[in-house]
Amino acid sequence: MSQTVIEYLLLILGAVLVNNFVLTRFLGICPFLGVSKKISTALGMCGAVIFVMTLASAVTWPVYYYVLHQDGVFGKDLTYLITIVFILVIASFVQLVDIAMKKFSPKLHGALGIFLPLITTNCAVLGVSVLNIQLKYGFLKSTVFGFAASLGFSVALLIFTGLREKIDRANPPRAFQGVAIALVTAGLLSLAFMGFASLVK
């Protein structure tokens, strides 16, 4: 296997297991807790997140290097505007996707549509976009990293939803019902994922 392929595989493994966006970096916790009650809704959320994070990574990368960077259109170093501009771009992009999806695939929109506004200002999406810049990844690597991050989010979300479904059926004590036991579980799951720490350097 060529060096690049191995490099990309390790990148994906790293983002999914070692530095999981939800459980290690603690980004994207809102949808993680909000949509983890039923497997069917969680699956829908996973689909939406993978879609948005991958494309957001792909869209924000050229915005940084061709607009904000001093070699860009404006000719000045505007990199300090990264947060505002990225949020602007991501929000508009997700809204565009929402409109387009509603028009071209009502079925898909019915399944994923309600989650799109939830992901818009999700810190995980902004996080991966900013990380791509900080880690100085190229365009392809940024997109793959965005995809891997969303994959990691999905893995964590699905495991967590399965756990939550089972726990809710088991009737926890009144004080722990609902979000309380969910947070305890998330903490324990996070601890469990620490076991992957030295998998990829």
């Binding site: 404006f74 505007l78 505007l81 501009v85 602007l88 771009v89 409109i99 387009a100």
Partner: protein
């Protein structure tokens, strides 16, 4: 670079990106627009938003869609009652309909003092499960088992299982969604007009002597009440049933009932 210049530069850049995004979105909104009936959203706003499912649809938004698109009846929302019917009628330009507030009632008065248990039941504390074991542990085959299936399904906790092991609906709390009616495995719960106060608290289809052995306050089928009620109470086999569409003013039915199963509340 001076402060003013840098501020102008920053705002300009952000504004520029914002403008570009805005134009893209505006064009998308115009050329990729999907027509949706705006009335659905308005009707959803008019409904109580309890999402109880009592109308038979999966939540208020679904009922709103049915009302607007399929022209479904506007009086299906029980929690909304008359005010919602009037609002919907006004909005849709239809004639308003009369609806009487209905509440649920458990038509059984045989609590543990009046109707003993016929065997010791050891199992799941669910009415359906208990009914499946030897026809239920209550001496009466038709009476309330008191294991709380109706109480648990009530979305507003209006049903109480008393310490004499019988289910009682608190009419003031009941929103009339009908979930308890669908849950009771013995079909004991009925929807009755909230204004009525005289009820036959028995659902036993057994004959008089059998009922007497099983419960102290069961209907023995003597038909005395039918003669006093002037058509408002009729016999269905050995059981007297109140016809709530007719008026029932004669309170003598309560005292004259030998089975002591007619009550006034």
């Amino acid at each position: 670079m001076t402060l003013v210049t840098s501020i102008l530069m920053t705002s300009g850049a952000v504004a520029g990106v914002g403008l570009a995004c805005g134009i893209a979105l505006a064009m998308a909104a115009k050329y990729l627009a999907v027509k949706e009936d705006p009335r659905i959203g308005d009707v959803t706003e008019l409904l109580p938003g309890a999402n109880c499912g009592g109308c038979g649809y999966a939540g208020c938004a679904d009922y709103a869609k049915a009302v607007v698109i399929d022209d479904v009846s506007i009086n299906l929302c029980a929690p909304g009652a008359q005010s919602v019917i009037d609002d919907l009628a006004k909005y849709l330009g239809k004639a308003s309909e009369q609806a009487e507030k209905t509440v649920a009632k458990v038509m059984c008065g045989g609590n543990s003092d009046q109707a003993p248990r016929k065997f010791l039941y050891n199992g799941v504390a669910d009415c359906g499960a208990a009914h499946a074991v030897g026809g239920g542990d209550k001496s009466c085959r038709y009476g309330c088992l008191g294991y709380g299936s109706c109480s648990r399904i009530c979305p507003v906790s209006a049903i109480e299982i008393t310490d004499t092991n019988i289910a009682v609906v608190h009419p003031a709390l009941c929103i009339g969604c009908g979930a308890c009616v669908r849950t009771c495995p013995r079909a004991l719960i009925k929807m009755i007009p909230a204004s009525r106060s005289i009820h036959v608290m028995c659902s036993s289809k057994d004959k008089g002597p059998v009922v007497k052995k099983a419960c102290k306050v069961g209907c023995i089928g003597c038909t005395v009440c039918t003669k006093l009620a002037d058509g408002a109470i009729n016999m269905e086999g050995p059981l007297a049933i109140v016809d709530y569409s007719k008026d029932l003013d004669n309170e003598a039915v309560v005292e004259k009932c030998p089975g002591k199963c007619i009550v006034k509340e």
